[in-house]
Amino acid sequence: MTTQLDARHKPLDRRTFLLRAGAAATLLSLLEGAPGAHAEASAPESPEFKAALEALIGNASPHDTGLTLDLPENVENGDYVPVALSVDSPMTAENRVKAIHILSTANPRAAVATFRFTLLSGKARVTSRMRLAKTQDVVAVAELSDGSMLLTRRKVAVKIGGCGI
């Protein structure tokens, strides 16, 4: 900032700098961890969402790894939210992804989309754009050919909800 250094503005020595940087980092992480410090909490799950999720997974206990749900953490406009879903799968007859479902936890309608893959798909990945009425979690469920399921959940903070949804 300045090259005119006097006694009051002596340059930081290495030790002081590291100590202060460490303190600042700790303070920052505390702030981020504080609830409500950055964004509002997800809206409560709708009864329709709970019913839809139960209908999808039944008695299965889905794995929480393997399914990637790419969504922005914050969006200005809930009308147009890019979403990408993928599973790293060989997509062979013995081991493939049959379908991926997206559910919204707090839109007027829980079921957003179901994407179905075949042996011709080659890759279990799909990209689309969705609507979000308010800050909420988005849940994706993948059905694999061996009957197992993968589930993942992401929160999206929405400034202006999707119009009329």
């Binding site: 147009y80 179905r116 075949t118 042996l119 080659g122 689309s128 609507r131």
Partner: protein, 108 residues
């Protein structure tokens, strides 16, 4: 009803056996069925509810869409191209309109 034909993008040159990305953009209002008009009447739902992609009569990929999909639905998906042929893409909406597009795949 689509006001304009959908836009579809596939790679220019494809090798047999290659996995390619197919990008599609339909033109559709995707009316959710939850909105009211100024007189307070619910505007009926009008969305593309089904999208399918097939190659030589075999399904490649399909999607069931709800009102939570954004207007002018964009769907990008993948396909392992077994050989030369054409991809048939179909969008079906609540109004009963089915839009069908056929895209030749330029397989080397």
């Amino acid at each position: 009803m689509m006001k304009k034909p959908p836009r579809i993008k596939v790679p220019d040159a494809i090798n047999a056996g290659e996995v390619i990305e197919i990008k599609t953009l339909a033109t559709h209002i995707m009316e959710t069925g939850n909105r009211k008009d100024p007189s307070g009447k619910i505007v009926p739902r009008d969305i593309i509810h089904t999208f399918t992609a097939s190659f030589a009569g075999q399904e490649v990929f399909s999607a069931t869409l709800g009102s939570g999909i954004a207007a002018n639905p964009y769907i990008a998906f993948y396909m392992r191209v077994p050989g030369p042929g054409a991809l048939t893409l179909t969008w079906a909406d609540d109004g009963g309109t089915t839009t069908v597009e056929t895209v030749p795949l330029n397989v080397a």
